[in-house]
Symmetry: C2
Subunit: 369 residues, 2 copies
């Protein structure tokens, strides 16, 4: 089976603008075409759109707008990890031989219908993500003696890192005090602990090893893939202080890539809320349970931006269908030593963690130079 590489990418700025979803897809894809060598529409075998938007037939629409006549064209949705689901699907189309070159475009508007899960409402559960994030925060703080001050370091770090990311929604520093004094949403959650919905797009190009050198001198290989869905509703989780789907997806991704957490030089983890970053670090296996905050602190105080260098989701903003793709672009740029002011030293192996709905499902990817 051919190996699969990331060979191109393009993004829009993440913002609160009111563009139509088709325009966001188009802008991200135009940026990809503008920055990728030798890319001819005729070479693209598949176009996948990652979104929670209710518009239909977006993959053929994007194809028509960009002059592509692909074999395969469809949308993929799985809430906040639609983006990495699309990347795994593209990987499978290429390794199966059905495609050699796959364009994925993820986009969302600030008013995405994916922010609230109606099914939870039907079952009488609280439907807004703030409720599960609040329960996670309470459980994690209680079990591991973590304080609100500890958790506040996550947005402080990620807003700081996003200042070096021109596509990020946030372009200003926040302090521990800013976080602690920001509007209280629940007992355990303040507004600055939360990522923000926004409008944004991210497009990425995956190629078979047979053709990848046509498009880039530095292909970045997808060497590890892990995915797991444990449930659709967070009250079916047995524990609220570890992300079980993330734990299982990580084991699979490390096994496939023949790496372990100690080999990872740079990572984007799914910090939808402050508590998610240390929990993800624990669940992936970077740290023992409850020790994720120590890793966050060490990175922050040594000015090492290897955890969420683009500012993560809290700093960059969270256009759901684009998020997993933007995370993957960041790690690709890091491994290519093209991350500018955000560049992490000696970045050879990277990891992406993207999850949905209280970590009821997770994707973990390992990328290598």
């Amino acid at each position: 089976m051919p190996k699969v590489a990331i060979v191109g990418y393009g993004q829009t700025k993440f913002s609160k603008d009111d563009s139509k979803i088709e325009s966001v897809l188009l802008r991200a894809t135009k940026n990809l075409f503008d920055s990728t060598s030798n890319l001819d529409q005729k070479d693209i075998d598949a176009v996948l759109v990652s979104t929670n938007n209710n518009s239909k037939y977006l993959a053929p629409i994007l194809s028509e707008m960009t002059g592509i006549q692909p074999k395969i064209a469809h949308s993929i949705e799985s809430l906040c990890n639609s983006g990495t689901n699309s990347i795994v699907s593209a990987y499978s189309y290429i390794t199966s031989g059905l495609a050699e070159l796959v364009l994925i475009s993820g986009a969302e508007r600030f008013d995405s219908p994916g922010q609230i899960l109606e099914w939870d409402n039907l079952r009488g559960e609280f439907k807004h993500p703030i409720f599960w994030a609040s329960i996670f925060s309470k459980a994690y703080k209680r079990k591991f003696a973590i304080t609100d001050e500890d958790l506040a370091l996550v947005p402080v770090k990620n807003h700081k890192q996003s200042i070096n990311n021109p596509n990020a929604l946030s372009q200003k520093l926040v302090s521990i005090e800013d976080v602690l004094n920001s509007k209280k949403i629940t007992d355990d959650l303040r507004i600055l602990d939360c990522s923000r919905p926004c409008t944004g797009g991210a497009s990425i190009l995956l190629a078979s090893e047979n053709i990848c050198k046509k498009f880039t001198d530095i292909p970045i290989w997808v060497t590890g893939i892990g995915q797991k869905t444990t449930s659709a509703s967070f009250t079916k989780n047995i524990t609220f202080d570890i992300m079980e789907s993330t734990r299982q997806a990580s084991l699979t991704a490390f096994q496939m890539s023949k790496h372990n957490p100690g080999n990872i030089d740079v990572m984007e983890v799914h910090d939808a809320f402050s508590v998610c970053e240390p929990m993800a670090l624990d669940s992936i296996g970077f740290t023992k349970p409850g020790k994720g905050m120590d890793m966050v602190k060490e990175a922050y105080f040594t000015e090492n931006s290897k955890i969420n260098p683009r500012g993560g989701i809290i700093g960059s903003g969270h256009p759901l269908g684009a998020t997993g793709i933007a995370q993957t672009i960041e790690i690709t740029q890091q491994l290519q030593s093209k991350a500018g002011k955000r560049q992490v030293d000696s970045a050879n192996i990277g990891l992406i963690h993207n999850m949905s709905a209280a970590a009821t499902s997770s994707t973990v990817l390992v990328l290598e130079k």
Copy 2:
């Protein structure tokens, strides 16, 4: 790479009922579990949902309702050919080695938002499918000297065939006169020329050859796959009397399967409107351009139900996300000699043709015993 087989299936009756989408998915999947030997939830690596419904996260929701904890779980949408897009995606997950057993469930409600393409409206095009179907009918009739009476035979045949399909929406015969006297929608289209939206679900199980014998004695192999998207808007088509995406997808599917139209014993073709059936037969290559009606007539007058044995879309009803899967189930049952009263003689090789939006995209599958 492992070969891929269809090893199980289940369906709901297609009806006008008001069930929630989750219930339709669940019923079709329960029928699959009830009729498949040795199927254990733990063996299922991926759950794909095919739908145009606006509800999110349906693949994890269906997984939770049925006790599955898959690795891969997401929805796939591409209007009317979402179902076969999902089957091709499942095929690629299996051949890539990321999955060995994939459950797909397609479902739609009668009030599907996929029936009208808002994008057409934005661009000032007529947005209802009746408009492209009317243009196709006028073009096909004019170019090939086909009459309204000729085309009326399609619904006559397909309603007749659906009487032997207990899951079909239509359970009554219509005559040529009934079709010609039915309400005129446009100059070239009467109400009985049209398929009808409805509520329905269809689930199918695909397996790697390594494990397929666990679930069935008669695995049906997916040996040919062709897909093509030419545009998203029918006014970008160059011709209105042939389905160009279908023609190209068919060539690919025949090349992959090493068969030609003459080898196909039974077929489901996408008869969304009367004219689509002869046009599809022409475009797939069963007949020379304009001769599709001759093949329909011959089948009808010799009482051979090899074209759309389940009643096609006109007879069965058209729950968009379920349609491509229901077509594939029909051909599977035919090749397994399990189609009951609908059974076609000597059915060893079958074909599915599923398309979207004025045939701007098409999928063609070849199945073999």
